[in-house]
Structures are given as structure tokens and as C-alpha cells.
């Protein structure tokens, strides 16, 4: 039984599982406080390298990653973390963090790794077996930096269905981060982590946008263009397949001004998509088939194929909540109030992006959404922006261990 460890420069080397586990156990031992300066520096240098490297110019996901990891941002995260610290306690990593990033979002594993690394964990990351050139090219400078400081973090791969390896590696993990949907989560739910360890599951999720038609109608041309760009970024960066990309757009205040302004906005979104077409003809057929199937089910009142990139359907009934087709398929749902938005939400829903809601509406929506299991409301344009608060978890809190060090006996006893 062995795994393939990434050595940099596109090359992998086989490592027997026993040797891997030995290496991981020894990397786990040294004490590392959370947010140590040298780890902040290392992450900052990695980000600076990505920002400088010409090959990533204009590659939006990598630019977003580099921006998120830059030294100033990481330092702010560290400061905020310290500001929340408990008296008579210190924080360290939980130990060994096992990362199982999704197959198709090339940059996510680095967010997952970076947070755990900053928190003070030793890490091992399972890369997809067919790791994209992007993944390997992103890793090369990072591996060089990690080697420089003698880090034991390991990026490796092995057949995804190898349950013996999955079980063995889960058994040494103090925390395991499983990204990639329900089937994968179910597979790992069977496999215990180290005693006292924890497993964070990021399951399949669906996301929505909530907009005020009245507020969109009031926008001037520049404002409309800006909003179209933001919505385009939310939808298009990962072909609308990221869990936080909206599929359904709930339209408030449509009674007063109608849907025309929303349709005009979506036409602009489509124009932006057509500037860099990413929908292949086969997916165009998938969207057309889905459109017709919705009409068969009497679930839509009208469908517009703006181009091969974008299809917009207006849902027929309030119980129709839209479908996750992806690749530029948007369902419009008219809602009379934020309560009518919230009534469609379930724990399967992840992000609500919003535009044009007043403070009171947003507050009401967030309370109703939270009661139904939704844990993220952010402005349109921020859907894909990674955040240490994710799926209702504070990842920094989840990936740290708080150690009580009391010098004096506290009042009371807890026997």
C-alpha cells in the first residue's frame, strides 16, 4: 500500500503508507502556536509570488487566491484572532489536518491548506489523481517555500476509491476537511478519524440571489454595468458549479416595477459571458432539455435562451424553487416578501447573495434564513470569495486547539 507524493516540477514519487504515516506522526509532534509570524511570512511570500508570476495574470481564481493570502490580509486575520483570545489560555493547531479538496476547483485546496497551516497544524492534502497543470504549477513555489523552512506538509494522491488508504489516513487525522459533495461525505463518514479528532463535511449545496427589482430599476447605466459584472463573476467563475454560485434569483418588489429591469440586467450578464464563452454545445443542449422539461412540468411561465451561454426561466409557482443545471442557467422567482424567499430555503442551501435590500429586510431575511440552516448572506459579487466563515463554521476556530493554562485555582469546582 503506497501513495504518490508530489515532489515539485510535475513529478510524483511513491511512498509506502507506513513511511507516510511515520512522517506525518513526526510532523505532528512539534508545538506550533496559532498564527506564528514565520507562517504568516511564508503564506505572504507565496501570495506575493503568485501575484508576480506572469502566467497567472488575468486568471481570476488565482488572483483571488493571491489576494486572499497576501500578507496584509493574513495579518489582519491573525490580529482578529488574537483579539478574540481567552485569558489564561493559548491556542495551537489541532495536530494533523487531512484535506480532501474537490476535484474541479483548482484553487480551493490552497485556502483549506492555508487556514489550517496558519492555525498551526501539520497538513497532508489529497490531490485529484488527474491533478490539473494549474494545481501543480501553483504548488511548485509553495513546495519550495515549505522545503526552505523544513515543513513536513505533504501533497499526495492515490486512487480515490482506495478505502484502505482513506481509512488509514483518516485514522491519523486530528481534523479532516472533506470538500466535494454528498457522496464523498458519505464515504468518509464511515471512516473514523483519530480519537478526539473532528471531521468537517462540506456537502452539496445550492445557492440563491435575492434582489429588489425596484432597486435595480433605479440604477444608472454605470450602476447596472457594475452589478452585471458582479453577478457575472458570481455565476461564471466556475461555470455556476461552485456551491455558492446562485441558481435561483428571487425578485422582490417586482409588483411595483415588474421584471423588465431584471431581464435587462441579465442581458448584460449574458453579454459579459459571451465575451469569454465557456459553455460547450453539449451543455447548451443540457440547458435546452432542462428548459423544456420545466415547461412539461408546468414549472415555468416563460424561458429565454439569451445565447448558448445564458438561459433565463421565470418560475411559474411559488413552490417552484429552481434547478441546479449550472453553466449559465438562471431561474427567476418572484417573491412578495423576504418571508416568501425564506420559505423555499433548507439546510441544503448555502449562500444568499443580495442586492438592493434595505437594512431591515436584510436583517429579517438573515434571521429567517438562519433558522432554516442557511449561514451565509453576502452582497452580489462576493459569492465565490472565500471566507474563514464557511458553511456556518469559523474555520479558524474549528482548526485550533485552545489550551487552558491556569496559574490560580478558579472559583467553584467541576468534579
Amino acid at each position: 500500500m503506497s501513495v504518490n507524493v508530489y515532489r515539485g516540477g510535475g513529478g510524483f514519487g511513491a511512498l509506502p503508507i507506513d513511511a507516510l504515516v511515520t512522517a506525518l506522526e513526526s510532523a505532528r509532534l512539534p508545538f506550533v502556536p496559532s498564527f506564528p509570524q514565520e507562517r504568516i511570512e511564508l503564506v505572504g511570500r507565496f501570495a506575493a509570488h503568485l501575484q508576480r508570476d506572469r502566467r497567472w495574470r488575468g486568471v481570476a481564481p488565482v488572483q483571488a487566491l493571491a489576494f486572499w493570502l497576501r500578507k496584509a490580509a493574513v495579518t489582519r486575520m491573525a490580529d482578529a484572532f488574537r483579539a478574540r483570545s481567552h485569558p489564561q489560555a493559548f491556542t495551537t493547531g489541532r495536530g494533523l489536518a487531512f484535506h480532501l479538496p474537490p476535484q474541479n476547483v483548482d484553487t480551493l485546496f490552497l485556502y483549506s491548506w492555508a487556514i489550517a497551516f496558519l492555525c498551526g497544524n501539520a497538513n497532508f492534502v489529497r490531490l485529484p489523481e488527474q491533478a490539473s497543470p494549474t494545481i501543480l504549477e501553483l504548488l511548485d513555489p509553495l513546495i519550495a517555500l515549505l522545503d526552505e523552512v523544513g515543513s513536513g506538509d505533504i501533497f499526495l494522491t492515490y486512487p480515490r476509491a482506495d478505502s484502505a488508504v482513506n481509512a488509514r489516513l483518516s485514522g491519523v487525522a486530528d481534523c479532516r476537511l472533506v470538500w466535494g459533495g454528498d457522496a464523498k461525505a458519505a464515504l468518509f463518514n464511515e471512516l473514523p478519524v483519530r480519537v478526539g479528532g473532528k471531521s468537517l463535511m462540506f456537502a452539496d449545496r445550492y445557492s440563491h440571489a435575492v434582489v429588489s427589482a425596484k432597486a435595480i430599476a433605479r440604477l444608472d447605466r454605470a450602476g447596472t454595468d457594475q452589478l452585471a459584472k458582479s453577478l457575472h463573476d458570481d455565476i461564471r467563475l466556475f461555470d455556476q458549479q461552485a456551491c455558492s454560485s446562485p441558481h435561483t434569483i428571487h425578485v422582490l418588489d417586482a409588483g411595483e416595477v415588474g421584471l423588465a429591469a431584471v431581464h435587462r440586467l441579465l442581458e448584460k450578464v449574458d453579454i459579459l459571458a459571451r465575451e469569454a464563452p465557456s459553455t460547450d454545445p453539449a451543455h447548451g443542449m443540457v440547458k435546452f432539455t432542462a428548459t423544456c422539461a420545466l415547461a412539461v412540468d408546468d414549472s415555468l411561465v416563460v424561458a429565454r435562451r439569451l445565447s448558448n451561454e445564458t438561459t433565463v426561466v421565470e418560475l411559474a409557482r411559488s413552490e417552484d424553487r429552481g434547478v441546479a443545471i449550472g453553466g449559465g442557467f438562471l431561474s427567476l422567482r418572484v417573491a412578495g416578501s423576504v418571508a416568501e424567499v425564506a420559505e423555499t430555503l433548507t439546510g441544503r442551501d448555502q449562500t444568499l447573495t443580495h442586492f438592493g435590500l434595505d437594512a431591515l429586510s436584510l436583517e429579517r431575511l438573515s434571521a429567517l434564513a438562519a433558522s432554516r440552516g442557511v449561514a451565509r448572506l453576502v452582497p452580489i459579487g462576493s459569492a465565490l470569495k472565500f471566507d474563514q466563515l464557511w458553511d456556518g463554521y469559523d474555520l479558524v476556530a474549528e482548526l485550533t486547539r485552545v489550551v487552558r493554562v491556569a496559574s490560580f485555582p478558579a472559583g467553584g469546582t467541576a468534579s
Partner: protein
């Protein structure tokens, strides 16, 4: 009725302009029929194709995506009938097509008219490169079974060349050929079976099929990796068996009965009561001859289900219009295979634990 007019003529004998003129009123009528009889179809027309009811040309006729027949049971008939299913590989969702007796009769008339163009009036002894078991369960009829059953009508004394395990009965094949030496015979089979079970079972010159007409269809299915180009296929069969008269046909269960038949030039011709439109894969605008795009199939046959205009997921091109090869008119087409499958990025792994 233009269907009756068109089906009565030699199947490839009507020029493109004339058939469009004859088909258009009947396509309008068919569209109205489906609208009245199939409420889901009416909703698609009204909500997905608003304003398209008054189409002025075959190209403007609203079409359905072929994949819809996998997701919805669409029928435009209150009669009882049978449901045909596409062959589909394991795990795939299969199309289901509802065929009532009237529709079955239209299909049958259309197929007779089409096949007459190569088989003539006489029924020849028929050797089927398939197994009898493919037609043994009428309740579970596959497209292959329906194809075999449909073709059996055109031959006499059908003989099945393969056993239940799809192994060829070589002695039976030789016996069939020897018994019919010197008179015309008909062979029918799916392309990959003809190649792997007939062609590969004999050496060059070991079997004389110079008196045979081969009709084949269905492509290569699970044997895509062993696929040979049509030109190679034709030449190999000619060399091995002296088999010169070979006619591939293209059709699909979603428009069963409408078959595009290969002429001696190797191209597939649309029979009179059908049309084919090649569309740009992105814009879906009609493309001129010589350009490759998505194949849209138009047919006057589908009456018990709204399948008279279907956008397929196959790629092809129009090679010529009214070429006159073998005296055949209408559009001649080349198929370029399936549209490559879509792959989306995303954070939900398609397969467990990727």
C-alpha cells in the same frame, strides 16, 4: 394529404424545393395536432418558443431536444399503443417513445417506401446478423430489436446468423449462402455486429456475397474503439465477400420509421417525407452545405408523440442537395459522430470521493 403524396413517390425522387413546399402545410398541421393533443408540448411551444406558431419555413419550425424524450413521456394520442425504448448503455436513462397503431402504420409505410429504393419489390431471402432473442420479448423492445423486427418484413424466410450469446453459426451462414447461390439475397445487421461477427469470422474469398444487398445501421456502440471509417468498411466487405451493394442507414428511436439511406456515393439521403437541417452548435442558426453542425431531423411521421422536429446531439454536414446519384434527390448528409459530452467545473465531485 402531402404525406400520402410523398410516401407514394419513389422515396428519394422528390427534389428539395418540391418536398419543402409539400411538407410545410403538413408540418403546420402536425404542430397544431400535437398542440391540441399533448398539453406539455403546447406549454413548450407557448413558453419556450413564444411567437413561433406561424413559422414560414421548415427551418423556423420549433424543435425539441432529443434528450427531452428521456425525461418526459410525451404523447399526442389517446389510443393504446406500445412504448419504444432506445438501446442506451447500462446506467443511462433511455428514451421512451409512444407509438399508437396509426403511427406504427405510418412508420411501416414510410419504411416500405424507403427500402423499396434499394430492395425493389421482391422479397429476397434474408440473413439477419443478429440473434433471435433480440426480438423475443415484445414488452421490452429495444431499438435494436425494433430495427430487426422492422427489417424482417422486407425479406423472406429470415435466418438468424447468431446464437443467443451473439456467436456466429458459421455452418448455418455457409448453408444459407450456398442454398441461395445465384439469386439475390438480403443481409441486415447492426454495423458493429456485421463487422465483428460476419466480416471477422471469414477469410478473404471464403464466402461469396456478390449476390447480396447489405443493409446495416446502428454504428459501433460499445465498440467505439474498434470503429472503422465507412469507406474502409465498404472496401473491406467488397474485398472479402465481393459484396458491393452496401447501404448504411441512420435513424433514431425518437423518429422511428424515418431512415436516411446510404447511396452508392457513401452519403446518407433523406427520404421525401423527411428533411434534415444542420445547425450551428452554438447559435443553432441553419448552416449551408459543407459546414458541420448539430443535426435536426424533421419528419412527417410522428403523430402519436410530438417528435416531428428534433434537435439531435449528433454532428453532421449536408454534402449536396439534389445530387441525382442513383437518381436520388434531396439532401445528402455525412455524420460526424456525437457531440462531445459537456464537462463543468465545480466544487461538487461528480463521482464519490474524487
Amino acid at each position: 394529404m402531402s404525406f400520402d403524396t410523398l410516401v407514394a413517390r419513389p422515396a428519394f425522387g422528390v427534389s428539395q424545393a418540391v418536398r419543402e413546399r409539400l411538407m410545410l402545410p403538413e408540418l403546420r398541421q402536425l404542430t397544431r395536432h400535437h398542440q391540441a393533443m399533448c398539453p406539455p408540448y403546447a406549454r413548450i411551444l407557448e413558453r419556450v418558443w413564444p411567437g413561433s406558431g406561424s413559422f414560414q419555413s421548415v427551418e423556423e419550425l420549433p424543435f425539441l431536444p432529443v434528450g427531452l424524450f428521456k425525461q418526459a413521456d410525451l404523447r399526442s394520442s389517446d389510443e393504446s399503443g406500445l412504448v419504444l425504448r432506445s438501446s442506451g448503455t447500462t446506467g443511462q436513462v433511455r428514451s421512451s417513445i409512444f407509438v399508437d397503431p396509426e403511427n406504427a402504420q405510418r412508420q411501416s409505410r414510410a419504411l416500405v417506401a424507403t427500402m423499396k429504393a434499394v430492395l425493389g419489390e421482391m422479397r429476397m431471402p434474408l440473413l439477419l446478423i443478429d440473434t433471435r432473442t433480440v426480438i423475443s420479448d415484445p414488452g421490452q423492445m429495444t431499438a435494436r430489436g425494433a430495427g430487426v423486427l422492422g427489417m424482417m418484413k422486407f425479406g423472406a424466410r429470415p435466418t438468424f446468423a447468431l446464437d443467443a450469446a451473439l456467436d456466429p453459426d458459421l455452418a448455418l451462414i455457409r448453408q444459407f449462402v450456398e442454398a441461395n447461390a445465384g439469386r439475390p439475397i438480403m443481409l441486415f445487421g447492426f454495423t458493429f455486429l456485421v463487422w465483428t461477427k460476419l466480416y471477422e469470422s471469414f477469410r478473404d474469398g471464403a464466402l461469396d456475397l456478390s449476390n447480396a444487398i447489405l443493409i446495416h445501421s446502428g454504428g459501433w456502440k460499445q465498440l467505439e474503439n474498434r470503429k472503422v471509417p465507412n469507406g474502409v468498411f465498404r472496401e473491406a466487405l467488397r474485398r472479402r465477400f465481393g459484396l458491393n451493394r452496401i447501404h448504411n442507414f441512420y435513424g433514431m428511436v425518437e423518429q422511428i420509421g424515418s431512415v436516411f439511406l446510404e447511396a452508392s456515393d457513401g452519403y446518407l439521403y433523406a427520404p421525401n417525407f423527411t428533411d434534415v437541417i444542420i445547425r450551428d452548435p452554438v447559435s443553432w442558426e441553419p448552416l449551408p452545405p459543407g459546414r458541420t453542425g448539430l443535426i435536426e431531423l424533421v419528419s412527417l411521421l410522428p403523430k402519436s408523440y410530438p417528435g416531428h422536429a428534433i434537435l439531435t446531439e449528433d454532428l453532421g454536414e449536408i454534402v449536396s442537395i439534389d445530387s441525382g446519384t442513383n437518381g436520388w434527390l434531396g439532401k445528402a448528409m455525412l455524420i460526424h459522430g456525437r457531440l462531445p459530452k459537456a464537462e463543468l467545473r465545480g466544487c461538487s465531485d461528480v463521482v464519490a470521493a474524487a
